[in-house]
């Protein structure tokens, strides 16, 4: 009896110890190595910080990114006095938003109209509905201070008003030539700049991976032809293509059609850039697929009757993902730089939307020998550089971590 008890204990012990042992998958191994690389981890945390700040921008007590403070205005009929705030260097003087009361007023008005509407007759209801819409569109104080807020952003802004009241962060980054707060503009610009990077990189990922994998797997004449197309596209300076695509897409009739499809101009802009940047990705993926397609697992998949599409997308593509991820972290900075360059040409994001490239460009335009508004160049440049710096280091770290030669080291 006792020995049986002992045996049982022994076996459960062995079993539990065996349960604790785990095989190290490639991904886990890579992540372990990534964690040991302090520069990559620092880059990762910086990026996470920037991304979460960007997501929560409406919640942060910032000044309005579009409200202009041009003239000195004396106090008049209830409005408090206002000072022009153009070209203020970075400072700590307090700024109030005057949003709390206006928002309360607005809510009250909406509430009144709603109750009137629910009590009125049918004809009155229509009229009131229209009136309500008018009020929503023109009297909303949030709409006055932020450009086209959507539902979520508006809700977050309301939450911010209840949290912080009228207090907002002083212009620690200075103000621009129209008296707008640079810090707020940087935060709102981050949303567009980062979106450009991510969306365009994803578009290039989808096109590049499927094109490259198809060409590499099919091989032979098809591969030759497909890669010849890539070569030709390579030799057209892609600035040209972008300019032409942007002009075609901003044509009125096409614009309307696209708006009908629910795509606004910024979205199209992202997609155009992504559609330009897939060439290198296609080459990289093709090279990888060519070396992979002789492997036994592809043979095995073919023997059990998997279709070509299935082999390419289920068996081959996951195996090249590590290379693709590394390349992706290097495409995002390239795309963001390209966006900045387009903004410099005036082809990028158009005001009142802001992006970092646009802000940097505005700063560059303000450089004169007479007076140097250094903060207008420095801070957007710094924001852009920090993000790209972090992305580059993360890409390096990922490349080292995903390198199969480094396994279990």
């Amino acid at each position: 009896m006792a020995s049986e008890q002992q045996d049982r204990e022994h076996y459960t012990d062995v079993l539990s110890r065996a349960g604790q042992l785990k095989g190290v998958s490639l991904g886990q191994d890579a992540f372990r190595r990534l964690r040991k690389n302090w520069s990559a981890m620092a880059a990762l945390s910086v990026l996470t910080g920037i991304a979460s700040l960007t997501c929560l921008t409406p919640l942060i007590p910032l000044q309005s990114p579009i409200e202009q403070h041009l003239q000195n205005r004396p106090e008049s009929n209830g409005q408090p006095a206002q000072k022009g705030r153009q070209f203020q260097p970075p400072n700590l003087s307090p700024v109030q938003l005057q949003l709390e009361d206006e928002l309360a007023n607005f809510e009250r008005k909406i509430q009144q109209l709603r109750t009137a509407k629910s009590q009125g007759s049918a004809a009155e209801q229509d009229l009131l509905q229209q009136h309500l819409r008018e009020v929503y569109l023109h009297n909303d104080p949030i709409r006055g201070l932020w450009h086209k807020p959507n539902g979520l952003n508006r809700a977050l802004t309301c939450a911010r008003v209840t949290l912080f009241g009228d207090w907002c962060i002083p212009s620690i980054c200075g103000t621009d030539h129209l008296g707008r707060d640079l810090l707020a503009r940087l935060f709102w610009g981050a949303r567009i700049s980062l979106m450009v990077g991510v969306v365009a990189a994803l578009v290039s990922l989808v096109i590049g991976v499927s094109y490259g994998a198809t060409a590499g797997y099919l091989g032979g004449r098809v591969d030759n032809l497909m890669m010849r197309v890539v070569d030709v596209l390579y030799s057209i300076p892609f600035i040209f293509v972008v300019i032409f695509l942007v002009t075609i897409l901003s044509e009125d009739s096409i614009k309307k059609e696209l708006e009908f499809l629910g795509l606004d101009q910024i979205m199209i802009f992202y997609i155009v850039i992504g559609a330009i940047y897939w060439l290198t990705m296609a080459r990289v993926v093709r090279g990888q697929v060519i070396s992979l397609k002789q492997e036994l697992f592809v043979e095995a998949a073919r023997t059990i009757g998997a279709s070509q599409t299935r082999i390419i997308f289920i068996h081959l593509v996951p195996n090249v993902l590590s290379v693709v991820i590394v390349y992706l972290t290097l495409t995002i900075p390239a795309v963001m730089l390209f966006e900045a360059f387009l903004s410099f040409l005036g082809l990028g994001v158009s005001p009142p939307d802001v992006s970092w490239g646009l802000l940097a460009n505005e700063g560059v335009k303000m450089i004169t020998p007479i007076k140097i508004y250094w903060w207008l160049v420095l801070f957007p440049g710094l924001a852009l550089a920090t993000t790209l710096f972090a992305l580059n280091f993360l890409g390096d770290g990922l490349r080292d971590a995903l390198d199969p030669k480094m396994k279990n080291r």
Binding site: I239, F240, P369
Partner: protein, 294 residues
């Protein structure tokens, strides 16, 4: 090569014509007769396939025709004027980038993960990460306004070239430094390097003669397209430093639908790219004894 040139020509031609609006569109429409005369003068009234044929023939004869937007200039003259300027600026920038980049790469690869490595690589990444118009304007603020060492803009003397060349070369220097470092680290692990050390060669000798030679291959293949891009001019720097190069025509022609000029620019770029890629292949054979030219 010819097939590629032809396809590039065809794609650019139709891309340009698909875009609505022509070179002679104004805010106010021209009187119809004048418009018709102008169109006839520049063959714009012909059906598209005949325009295509005419322009293709002109391009083969290396005569790109008059510019539609720059008065008194043919496209050939624009290229002849702008290209030497852009090219010389590009060459200076590139030699600066190569010298700086390779040195930084070698120094940081010899002692990886040391302080100097981290510093140099951060600097290189910074060079890549800062958009060059920001770099250029900061350089102007510091070296022209605060410390009056250089003239702000213009072209002609040596002091004019210095700032734009550095700003133009900075991102390339960064890329080259990082490429060199990665490749050096890779090559340092090879057996032939150990052999070289084992037969008692000095470290400097091993690095320069054995390691660097192997590590240069990817750098050279990166340089091919880079040279083509850098020598056809940088729009941003030419605008900021007021340099009369080719880069600004590149963009202006496309935006203003200057069909002939735009076509000329595309062709110059494509030819440059192909020459450079061929030179890269030749350079491969010179550097790496395992490669032979077919």
């Amino acid at each position: 090569m010819l097939i590629t040139l032809w396809s590039v020509f065809t794609i650019s031609f139709f891309l340009m014509r698909v875009v609505p609006g022509g070179p002679f569109d104004r805010e106010r429409a021209l009187p119809e007769d004048i418009q018709r005369n102008i169109d006839a003068r520049f063959n714009l009234d012909l059906p598209l396939h005949r325009q295509y044929g005419a322009q293709l023939w002109n391009t083969i004869c290396l005569d790109f025709g008059p510019s539609f937007k720059l008065s008194d200039y043919t496209v050939n003259e624009v290229i002849a004027e702008g290209f030497p300027i852009s090219a010389s600026l590009g060459i200076i920038a590139l030699s600066f980038a190569i010298i700086l980049g390779v040195t930084a790469g070698v120094v940081s690869a010899i002692r990886p993960h040391s302080l100097s490595d981290v510093l140099l690589m951060s600097l290189a990444t910074l060079g890549i990460a800062v958009p060059n118009f920001v770099l250029a304007s900061l350089a102007i603020v510091v070296f022209v306004f605060v410390l009056p060492w250089f003239p702000a803009a213009g072209w002609g003397s040596l002091s004019n070239i210095f700032l734009p060349a550095i700003c133009l070369g900075a991102p390339f220097a960064g890329y080259i430094a990082r490429l060199t470092r990665t490749e050096m680290l890779e090559v340092l692990g090879h057996d032939y390097v150990r052999t070289a050390y084992a037969k008692g060669l000095k470290q400097r000798h091993v690095i320069v003669r054995h390691v660097l030679r192997g590590a240069m291959l990817p750098v050279v293949s990166y340089l091919g397209p880079a040279v083509a891009g850098i020598m056809t001019g940088s729009l941003v720097l030419e605008r900021i430093f007021a340099i009369p190069g080719m880069g600004s025509h590149f963009i202006d022609a496309a935006i203003q639908r200057d069909y002939t000029l735009a076509m000329g620019m595309v062709m110059v770029y494509t030819v440059m790219l192909y020459t450079m890629n061929t030179m890269v292949d030749i350079a491969y054979a010179l550097i790496d004894p395992r490669v032979t030219i077919e």
